[in-house]
């Protein structure tokens, strides 16, 4: 009950030695927007046991930006995403969301205003690969339960707001259905509605279409596309590079626990790093 097992990230590829000293200078992933970022990650390191899976990540996400993390499995992209809402606790480094700092912080840097994980999570929405809907509740109650327990809304208000969120993802008429009565694509759209209804500053998507049958991928990507067009700040871990090319303002290629290369959509056409080139060629 008490501790949460780290269940998320896939088993990382084991490298002979953690590349620390010999590695090239860490890449700061940012669009260069001068406004203060909504999410600011600095020198983030994470280990599972004795194995370090993130060797210092630096990432800025500004309001309205769509950041895509991609790379081979075990590269640490899901762990970065799960660090943003502290489902993974950083071993060192700083996670800053909406001006409030979490995590141990960066050595030598002054501490900013510090916050508790629960306060952070209320500003960050997350969509999981496995949907993680609550199977004993209707689609509507899946959305309204957190509205009642987190936002303290009355049952009536929560139901109305939940219905609005379901309408946004095109599932209002399925409100009384249970997750078991919905297709995978519909379940994922309910999960998106659930996260959206909390009015998050940023939405995290952890391989949202990887568990879906191919014919159901489109409806989920369509909803995400609409969100992106509406100006939602998004961080997306995905293998759908076509989708990434369409929405990605900042595309981040990760390998072996580090950021290798970043860029706008031209990164997919003209990658400079050989590892990025290999990966994009292999996926295509």
């Amino acid at each position: 009950m008490n501790t949460l097992e780290p269940s998320g990230p896939p088993t990382p590829v084991v490298h002979p030695s953690a590349p620390v000293a010999t590695d090239p200078a860490p890449v700061l992933a940012t669009t260069g927007d001068p406004t203060p970022p909504v999410v600011r990650i600095r020198q983030l390191r994470k280990s599972f046991g004795s194995l370090e899976v993130l060797h210092g990540i630096d990432l800025d996400v500004h309001a309205g930006e769509h950041v895509v993390l991609f790379g081979p499995s075990g590269s640490g992209k899901s762990t970065v995403l799960r660090s943003i809402n502290l489902l993974e606790e950083p071993n060192s480094g700083s996670v800053c969301v909406d001006g409030v700092e979490y995590g141990p912080g960066v050595a030598g840097e002054p501490r900013v205003k510090r916050g508790k994980p629960m306060a952070l999570r209320r500003k960050v929405g997350m969509v999981f690969q496995q949907f993680n809907l609550f199977p004993h509740l209707t689609a509507l109650d899946n959305v309204s339960l957190p509205l009642r327990s987190v936002k303290g809304m009355s049952s009536e208000d929560a139901m109305r707001k939940a219905a609005e969120s379901l309408r946004q993802v095109g599932l209002l008429e399925r409100a009384a259905h249970y997750p078991g009565q919905l297709s995978g694509g519909q379940q994922q759209r309910v999960a998106i509605a659930r996260a959206l209804s909390q009015d998050p500053k940023v939405m995290l998507f952890d391989e949202p279409t990887s568990a879906l049958d191919p014919e159901l991928v489109g409806e989920v990507l369509r909803v995400m596309h609409e969100l992106a067009d509406a100006g939602m700040t998004m961080v997306v871990v995905t293998h759908e590079l076509g989708f990434a090319r369409e929405i990605g303002d900042l595309n981040v290629f990760m390998d072996q626990g580090a950021i290798v290369e970043t860029g706008s959509s031209e990164l997919f056409d003209n990658p400079t790093n050989p590892r990025t080139q290999d990966f994009i060629r292999a996926v295509r």
């Binding site: 008490n2 489902l87 997350m126 309408r167 209002l172 008429e173």
Partner: protein, 245 residues
């Protein structure tokens, strides 16, 4: 003794005594079920929590899962009562014995049920900013309860059967009543057949009850009972959807 001398009418003649015996067995088991369920849930939490409390829970579970009901009730009624200087009634001794034994089983049932809820559901609750207590009561516990329910039913049946050993301390349950009637009528085959039938019937009825409860907890709800209980909520959602479309 030839077959024509079996007096099956005895069962009808003594039906009141036999049913009172069953009622006593049900009362002892029912009270013990409530206590064992609560204690078992607490033990399961301790067991899944931090050392050294988790070790204590493990020791408790392994001791009382291994003790036979007969030994336990004698130990309580004749032993522990002396140690504490309290005179337990036979009813109390029976309840205590069953509660001690079955809380150990319940702890394991609840532990496995809680662990069977996918950890992602808890993570989803955390990611939504829900407090831990709310995640437990609104997300994890309802799912775990449904998983545990059939096993809790089996435990209840086991408890009722174990009350038969409490005849040794003089509890007037089914076996004790049967022995008393047999002492007057010398019809052991007839009477013990009746006793066996009573246990089987009781188990059958309890099984049906727990099956209904399980069906009513399924999503979507099955069965009339759950439609009565949960139908209102469904209709409220449907009315809201109709209003908004």
């Amino acid at each position: 003794m030839d077959i024509s001398s079996y007096d099956w009418g005895l069962i009808w003649d003594y039906r009141g005594d036999l049913l009172r015996g069953l009622l006593t067995a049900l009362e002892v088991s029912g009270v013990a079920l409530v206590i064992a369920t609560a204690a078992g849930l607490g033990l399961a939490m301790l067991r899944m929590g931090r050392a050294p409390l988790s070790w204590l829970a493990v020791v408790y579970i392994n001791v009382f899962r291994g003790m036979p009901a007969l030994v336990t009730v004698i130990w309580i009624y004749f032993g522990v009562s002396l140690l504490l200087g309290v005179n337990f009634s036979v009813f109390q001794a029976g309840v205590i014995a069953l509660s001690l034994l079955y809380s150990a089983f319940m702890a394991e049932i609840f532990r496995s049920a809680l662990q069977a809820v996918p950890p992602g559901h808890r993570e989803a609750g955390l990611a939504l900013g829900m407090p831990n207590g709310r995640i437990f009561f609104s997300v994890v516990a309802p799912q775990a309860f449904k998983i545990a329910l059939p096993n809790v039913g089996s435990m209840f049946i086991g408890m009722i059967k174990d009350t038969s050993t409490f005849t040794v301390i003089g509890l007037l349950e089914v076996v004790r009543v049967t022995q008393n009637i047999n002492a007057q009528t010398f019809q052991p085959f007839v009477l013990y057949t009746a006793a066996a039938a009573i246990y089987v019937l009781a188990a059958f009825v309890i099984d049906i009850f727990f099956r209904l409860a399980e069906a009513s907890l399924s999503s979507p709800p099955r069965g009339r009972v759950s439609q009565l209980v949960r139908g209102r909520k469904q209709r409220r959602i449907q009315a809201l959807v109709a209003e908004l479309t």
